[in-house]
């Protein structure tokens, strides 16, 4: 087959620099073939190689006593949860495909992350997602939002995984470049961990899943460059088409296959498809791999070796089988009616050799391709805009005179408002494990016997399967924009605070770093500083990072860069189901206690910098966001869990966007009993004691490290004393009861029926989408 000659223009078109091309010449000792050039371009893209971020990623804490498979080792990290059981989880982005084709882009994002989980030998049992869009007043944004949500719903619902948590932010910076970060979590036993390694020289290599087509050609490379109008149009073909039905078959077949014991290694064909799966499995095992492309099932006629190697057709797996046990493997494929083919063999050469009709088209050292991508230490420069952000003061901003009017406006703000329009479209209850569904601080699932993959015949059943796992994802991109270091810390702290409110102790984290173009030193500074914040916070909360994803080049033409958005999903465990705590008030007459400081008077902006209040009420996105003291945060979370374990806490809800009053309002109305059936319970707050600062800061400021809890009045004294003993400020601020939310401050009182506050919060997104 005729292949184009390698010219500097062709190299540039492959997004490789002249220096990178020189490195390829050194690695190969000759010029690459066209197919090899394509292979290097995807493997050395940011998406696959982390070439711009690897030095930063090394600063994350990744070690821990419970870590069974750590960051970077495999497709997903694995954490021990006791009794021989473990959980595998990871978050990954599908931003650029979703910008171009929102439904399929988001759907295949879900498919990809689910594959990463069952590739490890785990059964996927829960999903969540973190989404960012522009403002919903823009019809194009509504189209993207609709497409992404229905794409996630389509894939997850059909596959049969509960999509049980998530977050959605709306901000103009994401208008041309939405973010779609999908997370999945799976369950397995320690003795079921599977490696993506091509072990055993002479072992046959199988391909299973649908035929390879021209869809998704070089998607990883597409994801690693700026999105422009032309690239979006041209790259529509780089968006893959997902088939969740096929994924379900492949998943069940793979888990059954692993139970035969005949599998030596397994790897999904995700980004960079056949290329990535072959060279990575060989590199991990220190072996070589040789495949024949004529044996690869193909959907289109006359596909070139370049196309076959770079296709990102979905739902395909590469499986290395122990020689002599091929028949057992074929039986499982046939039971599930899956297309399969034996395409190659494991060798001892350390090389990835690809033949097409017998002729060698690729012959590269696997480890050098997989692991020796160039590494860049990009220039970082503090962004110019930060000077104005830091100079911002409240002097010119009149304090609120009508908080009773501000509150419903804040509740209707799309970022704060209920996301029921979103999560109602996701099946969040399949698998009979959803204990805390969307709408509280963190989701909680139960792991049970059928969460564990099929056991091998020689395995004894697990004695104690029931485990309770909580997870959540957070990131206030506005904070990160205004102060990358503090914003990074705040993202992790909020996630861990949400877990603490649920009664859970963090065991690990996975992050998705979404930024603009790293060649811009100001963007790289955002990246560097926020990673420093994430790393410090993960260390403080003992939540090692077990893996994640980097998505750069999130900017689109004149619309500019997105806010730096390192989304962080943190997973925790709850030992006793009696400790599972939800955010809504439970009973009339209960007392309301604020854990943490009512207001941070040391902050010149009193917690209003970067707040939802400044943005939604005053139209200002500025000001240094509130400081987060990590020692105080650790103390608060420890205290929260201790209080919950003491059995006296009836509800716990963290203060985040919108501050104290939004948190209390949500505690009044966020319990949904059933369709069209909500439980409303009023509250009366007395904040007259906290009159030292601004009224708007007290009510809506976002001073960090705060949680609103409720408890029986007879327990109030004990809880206040216990919190004080644990070094956490605690104040009795009100009482649950009645039909209104009534707030008394030193300057006056405002009050509104809970039902009236609920309406804008519950319906504002549905109304704009109708």
């Amino acid at each position: 087959m005729h292949e184009p000659a390698i010219t500097p223009e062709l190299v540039q078109k492959h997004n490789l620099t002249p220096d990178e091309y020189t490195k390829i010449l050194t690695v190969l000792g000759r010029p690459p073939t066209y197919t090899e050039l394509g292979i290097f371009s995807v493997m050395w893209s940011e998406h696959c190689s982390y070439k711009n971020t690897r030095p930063l990623l090394k600063t994350f804490p990744t070690k821990g006593a419970n870590i069974l498979v750590g960051a970077g080792e495999e497709n997903a990290g694995i954490i021990d949860v006791g009794d021989g059981l473990a959980i595998a989880f990871k978050i990954e982005s599908h931003n650029h495909p979703s910008a171009v084709e929102p439904f399929q882009g988001a759907a295949t994002g879900v498919g990809g992350i689910i594959r990463d989980i069952f590739t490890m030998g785990a059964r996927p049992v829960a999903a969540l997602n973190s989404l960012r869009f522009g403002e919903l007043s823009n019809p194009e944004v509504r189209r993207l939002f609709t497409g992404v949500v229905s794409g996630i719903a389509h894939y997850g619902n059909c596959f049969g995984i509960p999509t049980i948590a998530g977050e959605v932010y709306f901000d103009k910076s994401y208008e041309g470049n939405p973010l779609v970060n999908a997370f999945a979590l799976g369950v397995l036993r320690h003795d079921q961990i599977t490696r993506g390694a091509a072990r055993g020289v002479g072992n046959p290599v199988f391909y299973v899943g649908p035929a390879t087509g021209r869809d998704g050609l070089a998607g990883a490379a597409f994801a690693s460059q700026d999105l422009t109008e032309e690239s979006a149009e041209q790259q529509r073909g780089a968006v893959q088409v997902g088939d969740p039905f096929m994924e379900k078959l492949v998943c069940e077949a793979c888990l059954e296959l692993l139970a035969t014991g005949a599998v030596a290694g397994m790897q999904d064909m995700g980004a960079a498809g056949l290329t990535c799966s072959t060279c990575e499995t060989a590199a991990r095992a220190g072996t070589g791999i040789e495949i024949e492309l004529n044996l690869v099932p193909q959907r289109a006629p006359n596909m070139s070796s370049y196309e076959i190697m770079l296709s990102e057709s979905q739902e395909r797996m590469l499986i290395v089988v122990t020689k002599g046990r091929e028949e057992e493997v074929k039986r499982v494929f046939e039971k599930w009616d899956l297309p399969w083919a034996e395409i190659g063999v494991v060798t001892d050469t350390g090389r990835m050799v690809v033949r097409h009709g017998g002729q060698i088209v690729v012959d590269v050292p696997a480890a050098k391709l997989a692991d020796e991508a160039p590494i860049y230490f990009r220039e970082a420069k503090e962004p110019a805009y930060l000077a104005a952000v830091r100079a911002f003061r409240l002097d010119g901003l009149a304090d609120t005179t009508n908080p009773g009017q501000d509150l419903p406006k804040l509740l209707a703000d799309h970022t704060i408002a209920s996301k029921n329009w979103v999560y109602r479209q996701y099946d969040h209850m399949v698998r009979d494990g959803s204990i805390v569904c969307p709408g509280s601080d963190a989701a909680v699932i139960r792991i049970k016997a059928d969460s564990v993959p099929v056991l091998r015949a020689d395995m004894d059943p697990t004695a104690n399967v029931d485990k309770y796992v909580a997870f959540t994802v957070d990131c206030n991109g506005g904070y990160v924009y205004l102060d990358p270091y503090e914003g990074g810390k705040a993202a992790v702290a909020e996630a861990c605070r949400n877990l603490a409110c649920t009664g859970a102790t963090p065991v690990g984290a996975t992050d998705n770093l979404n930024y603009g173009n790293p060649h811009n030193p100001e963007i790289f500074w955002q990246l560097k500083e926020s990673v420093r914040g994430l790393a410090d916070a993960c260390r403080a909360f003992n939540a090692p990072v077990t893996g994640g994803n980097v998505s750069l080049y999130n900017q689109r033409g004149a619309l500019g860069s997105i806010d730096p958005t390192p989304t962080v999903a943190v997973v925790g465990v709850i030992a006793d189901p009696a400790h599972i705590t939800t955010q809504w008030f439970k009973k009339e007459g209960d007392v309301i206690i604020l854990l943490g400081a009512p207001i941070d008077l040391a902050d010149p902006l009193q917690g209003l910098g970067g707040s939802a209040y400044l943005r939604a009420i005053h139209g200002r996105k500025t000001g240094t966001p509130p400081r987060l003291d990590l020692d105080q945060a650790v103390a608060l979370h420890e205290a929260m869990r201790a209080l919950i374990y003491g059995g006296r806490v009836k509800s716990a809800h963290d203060c985040s966007e919108g501050g104290l009053i939004v948190a209390v309002a949500e505690s009044c109305f966020s319990q949904q009993i059933a369709r069209e059936t909500h439980r409303f319970i009023g509250a009366t707050l007395d904040l007259t004691a906290f009159s030292d600062g601004r009224e708007d800061a007290l009510l809506f400021g976002e001073t960090q490290n705060r949680i609103v809890i409720s408890a029986s009045p007879v327990d109030a004294g004990k809880l206040l004393a216990q919190a004080a003993a644990l070094g956490v400020p605690a104040h009795l601020i009100g009482q649950v009861g009645g039909d209104t939310l009534t707030v008394k401050t030193a300057r006056g009182t405002f009050s509104a029926p809970v039902a009236d506050l609920h309406d804008p919060w519950w319906n504002s997104i549905a109304r704009v989408m109708a």
């Binding site: 229905s150 719903a153 619902n157 059909c158 596959f159 049969g160 088939d243 969740p244 039905f245 096929m246 379900k248 078959l249 069940e252 039971k335 599930w336 009616d337 999560y423 109602r424 479209q425 996701y426 099946d427 969040h428 209850m429 399949v430 698998r431 009979d432 959803s434 204990i435 569904c437 139960r446 049970k448 059928d450 189901p577 949904q672 009993i673 059933a674 369709r675 069209e676 059936t677």
Partner: protein, 230 residues
């Protein structure tokens, strides 16, 4: 009670049904869609999911599977068959139940808890449902809008085959309580012989208080009671 739970390639509530039956103290096993026998089952559950991907129409392919021929025979002999969600769709496609389930009226998938009023209690699926209570159970479907032509509806009414309606918490079958646009708020029906029933809500996800509601147990308990009587 020993229940055969069918397993189509993309059934995804099959394990949930087995789990729910076991939690209530009974036994269940999965029966693969290529099997031609149901084994020694007292009752059959056709579970939720997407059977064969359901790209054509929900349940349209599943009805041709070998196991469905066994189910049709089992039902013809008077055996108890319960279809849940996609299982209800399959039973309609297979002709074991009248009518059809079409796209929800707002064209969106709905996953939420709903209330159900039980209209008939003289069936093998409803006899143990307390007289006074509305049931709370989750739904999770994109094509749950029950539709049947006038003569069929008349026949369903005359035969007292409408078993469950979507209602509000007070048991009123209001339009707001109808999540998908089903005619007459119909959530579930049975056949004329009263041994085959289908419903869109999930009793299999409502058999433990830990999951928010255990009202689904009444349906399984009714089946046990009917089998004991038989």
């Amino acid at each position: 009670m020993h229940v055969a739970v069918l397993q189509f390639p993309a059934s995804n509530c099959d394990q949930d049904c087995v789990h729910a039956v076991r939690v209530l103290g009974h036994t269940a096993n999965l029966v693969w869609h290529k099997d031609t026998s149901l084994g020694a089952a007292d009752a059959v559950i056709v579970p939720g999911g997407f059977s064969y991907g359901d790209y054509l129409r929900c349940g349209a392919i599943a009805r041709f599977s070998p196991v469905m021929q066994a189910v049709i025979q089992f039902a013809a002999q008077g055996g108890l068959v319960l279809g849940i969600c996609n299982g209800f769709q399959i039973l309609c496609e297979a002709g074991l139940l009248p009518g059809a389930l079409i796209r929800n009226r707002d064209l969106q998938f709905h996953c939420e808890q709903v209330y159900l009023r039980t209209l008939q209690r003289d069936t093998a699926f409803t006899s143990r449902i307390p007289e006074t209570s509305v049931l709370k159970m989750p739904i999770a479907h994109g094509e749950g809008c029950y539709f049947a032509d006038e003569p069929t509806l008349k026949a369903l009414e005359a035969g007292r085959q409408i078993l469950w309606q979507y209602t509000d918490a007070l048991g009123q079958a209001t339009d707001a309580a109808n999540p998908n646009g089903s005619v007459q708020n119909i959530a579930g029906i049975c056949n004329a012989r009263r041994n085959v029933a289908g419903l869109m809500p999930h009793p299999d996800r409502a058999s433990e208080t830990l999951l928010g509601t255990d009202d689904g147990k009444y349906i399984f308990q009714s089946m046990v009671a009917a089998l004991q009587k038989a």
